[in-house]
Amino acid sequence: MDWELYERYRSTVLLAVLLFVSSLFLAFQKTSSVQHLRAFLVRFTLPPQRLLVQIKSPASESSIPEPNEPAADTVPGTILDIGSHFSGEERRRIQILTEENARYRDLFQIRESKWPGAIVAHVAGRDPQRWFQEIVLDKGKEDGLKADFPVLAIVDGRETLIGRILEVSAHVSKVMLLQDSLSEVAATVPGANGEDGVVEGTNSHELVLKFLDRGSQVKIGDLVVTSGLGNAFPSGVPIGWVEGLEPDPRQLFMQAKLRPAARSNQIRVVLVLVL
């Protein structure tokens, strides 16, 4: 009798058990046991994500040139001379590698000249549902990363702030992007009497620079950089450009819409600053 009852309702019982277990995961997100479970299970999905990143960015760390090495396209008689001997597909591949090479050269030059201790990491994955908020890096605690370390990307040969480390596990870490609405960065506008404000995310492409004076000298096109206040981020790192100005909803301050210097969907490799 009991067995028949079990056979009849076992799916419902299983549903209740699985929902209960899932709810426990939800309720105790931040506990170490759930985080350990997550770190263990993420190993099953990280390999394809890493593979995809490598396919898109063919240069691996072992093939990254040293900063002093000349890149292929700067050596006379290489690409331009032999370009005609390659098929279209090969030329495209060379083009990709050349661009990749230039990107890494910029990154290593900036690292050598400004932040010798910075750690280079690759974007290993991102969640479509939290596209503007977070990315996952392929380096973690064992590589020297810690929570709150600033994360920079290199755009057009210049460093730019993209966020900070939010959580770290052994081999991967999560970055909170500037676009996250919970992100706040002390910033300044060097060209406008050094006006200070706070850059906040909007969960979309744009950023907002808040708490500017109503008589602010900030104008469209001004570059906004980190102010270094609070020591959470180094000073003078570009964040974005002013695209528009308007009073805040309470009409107490002005606020500026910013175009981020780095588009979050073009980030492949980053520099994590060790503070």
Partner: protein, 164 residues
């Protein structure tokens, strides 16, 4: 042993397919939830017991690899597997139209529940991406293909659907 291998391989392959799909189509109008469709397939073909187990297994793996809350997908996929299993007698799941319409409806419910759970548990403000609106349509379009592929895959393993 063969049965275990069949389920493990299926979970592994669909997980990879979802990762690859997210990489190239995530955040676009053409995003597809291959795993959700597969969960519905298992629920409709093999009953709620299998649907729930597959849904929970995939859900917890997706939660671990994504950056959101751990448990959201586990809950939603488990519910999807259970509901598909409970509806299997009312639906003729061999018809492509049934697969399409059922997948479309479940995906809509999935999104509503996802937003509710996310709002309730997440510390972040929920971000609604308009691109999500096309996911139910894309899921519905590819559902017959996924059902066909998974039926073929089961035939390869000689794993006839057994109802639980």
């Amino acid at each position: 042993m063969k049965k275990v291998l069949y389920f493990l391989f299926t979970i592994w392959i669909l997980l990879w397919a979802q990762v690859v799909s997210n990489h190239f189509l995530g955040g676009t109008l053409f995003a597809v939830q291959w795993i959700l469709i597969a969960v519905l397939h298992f629920g409709l073909r093999r009953g709620p017991w299998t649907g729930e187990w597959m849904g929970f297994s995939w859900g917890i793996l997706v939660d671990s690899s994504s950056l959101g809350l751990v448990g959201v997908h586990a809950i939603l996929y488990t519910l999807a597997g259970y509901s598909a299993g409970m509806f299997r007698r009312q639906l003729d799941a061999s018809k492509p139209w049934t697969q399409t319409i059922f997948t479309w409806m479940v995906t809509l419910v999935y999104f509503v529940l996802y937003l509710l759970v996310e709002r309730f548990f997440s510390i972040n403000e929920g971000t609604f991406q308009w691109a999500c609106l096309t996911v139910p349509i894309m899921n519905a379009i590819v559902a017959p293909l996924v059902f066909f592929a998974l039926d073929f895959w089961a035939d390869v393993w000689d794993m006839k659907p057994i109802e639980h």
